[in-house]
Amino acid sequence: MVRRQGVELYLGISLIIFLTVFAVLSPLFANYDPHQTDAERWLQSPGKEHFFGTDRLGRDIYSRVVYGARVSLAVGILAMLLSITVGTALGALAGYFGGFADQLIMRLTDIVLVYPTMLLALTLVAIFEPAIWLVVLVIGGTGWPAVARLVRGEIMRLKNLEFAAAARMLGASHRRVLLVHLLPNALGQIVVAATVAVPAAIMTEAGLGYFGLGIQPPIPTWGNMLREAQNYIRHAWWYATFPGAAIFLTVFAFHLTGEGLRQRLDPKSQSGRERRAYDH
């Protein structure tokens, strides 16, 4: 049976663009200052004035969700860049040189991989006190091993192709072979890894926020809004619903894009690459 392709990709990318536009242009879309409290209008239900209602302090939830998108996307993308950079570098070194370097790097990734990410992130943030840069660092720092494995496998496959040998023969340095010949050809896999890393980072950030260890209020993030909202689920359904829906939509958009990209790269596989803690 022939599969119609690309629905996921287009849907995903348009959602991401839509959300990014909202995040970047949040001052245009947010009709209230997200920090502006209003003692008279707390916990107002959604209506013409407040699209998503107001929170306990009378702040406009719509504006806060839109501002939260900025924080979440920024954290997600920065953490993704970090884990992609570190993961690509280490994965490429391990895959290209093999031997001891490979053993060393792979054992390091194993060690990081066996910690449940959320738990490790919670621990690190708890120990070093929550701050935006730390949240990015911790999420990026726990996310790289998955990328490293992927890139390593890809580089190992590519380095056995003849164009790498041909370049070596012309006298190309290892650096040149890696940077000019191997990595550009692994780009597809790296992009797929990136589209998985962003939603993972957003989810972890929101989780940290929900447990009170993420970016701290009054800076609105989807996670810390949910934390506040969970004490008002009987009073205001909108309080918890909208920030959560925002997380869902964003993460879904990235997952869709990743899925679509994967289908393009490898039409046979429609599922994620197996995450193995040990290489075969």
Partner: protein
């Protein structure tokens, strides 16, 4: 085969060693301790000092590490700063509740995933397959804590059918009462893990279906059901078992959130409150043991692979 096995074992030992080292280093980069700073508890300064002496280790860092490691080997995970009791004891008290939540969730999610995944793979590209594929993607995208809140909002408050918290209504609750308490946290856990397993199962089954022996079996006119049970599932079971073993961290994180949202008296909730209170020995013991558990289950998955897969068994 023995050589591969020994190699894996050796890798696992290195990983376990690295886990203890990293855990130790994290613990020692932690500044301060919880009771020092708490002005809202009226602590007697001399008592805190005395108590700190009881907690503290001395000597240079490597010596501390070694003595910590030797205590670990004797099963001594340290004392909780808050409970002033052995961490292991506290964990064991809470373990049954966690198992009671996670084991059924794991089996249910896996069972559902195997049936749905096989079904979807057999109808690759069909409406049901596409729907399930999209649904599982959505399931992966659902923040579990939000799902928990929404479930509570709908089924404990909006339609007050199910309890919002805890494991039982009274000390002498019936099994039914406990099962009713289980429904919401279980649902929350199952949604996430099902989506995760489903995608792997479907992929594994598709990989088997594309093989020649399936085409031959079809050509021989076997019924679809026969082919599925006789050929597809046995061959797809290896990757499925592996993924199931490797999903331990996922299940663990899921339990963490589910227990927190639904006040389930298990290890997860205890970990969250210990983390928030900076109960370092607890945090480290939990990190260490889950990491070790995951490393070991990875090793066991490999072992299983070696034992089951004839290709690997008979190789050389």
């Amino acid at each position: 085969m023995i050589r591969i096995l020994l190699n894996r074992l050796w890798q696992t030992v290195i990983v376990l060693f690295g886990v203890t080292l990293i855990t130790f280093l994290i613990m020692h980069s932690a500044p301060g301790h919880p009771l020092q700073a708490n002005p809202e508890l009226r602590l007697d300064p001399t008592a805190v000092e005395r108590w700190l002496e009881l907690q503290e280790l001395d000597g240079p860092l490597p010596a501390q590490y070694l003595s910590w490691l030797s205590r670990l080997f004797r099963g001594d995970f340290g004392m909780s700063l808050i409970y002033n009791r052995p961490v292991l004891e506290l964990a064991l008290e809470r373990l049954p509740a966690t198992l009671f939540l996670t084991v059924p969730a794991f089996l249910l999610a896996l069972g559902l995933a195997i049936s749905c995944g096989t079904w979807a793979a057999l109808r690759q590209g069909g409406f049901g397959d596409r729907l399930l594929g999209l649904g599982s993607l959505a399931g992966l995208s659902l923040p579990s804590f939000w799902l928990g809140i929404i479930l509570m909002m709908l089924f404990s408050y909006g339609y007050p059918w199910l309890p919002a918290a805890g494991m039982r209504t009274a000390e002498d609750s019936s099994v039914l009462d406990i099962l009713i308490h289980l429904i919401l946290p279980l649902t929350m856990l199952v949604v996430g893990s099902f989506s995760y397993y489903f995608r792997y199962v479907r992929y594994a089954v598709l990989a088997v279906l594309s093989q020649d022996f399936i085409k031959i079996a079809r050509a021989r006119g076997f019924t679809e059901l026969y082919i599925v049970f006789r050929y597809v599932l046995p061959n797809a079971s290896l990757p499925i078992v592996t993924v199931a073993a490797l999903s331990l961290p996922l299940l663990f994180t899921g339990a963490l959130v589910a227990e927190y949202v639904f006040s389930w008296p298990g290890i997860g909730r205890w970990i969250i409150s210990s983390t928030l209170a900076r109960d370092y020995p607890v945090i480290m013991a939990v990190n260490l043991s889950t990491a070790a558990l995951v490393a070991l289950s990875n090793f066991l998955a490999d072992l299983l692979y070696l034992l089951i897969d004839p290709r690997l068994r008979f190789k050389a």
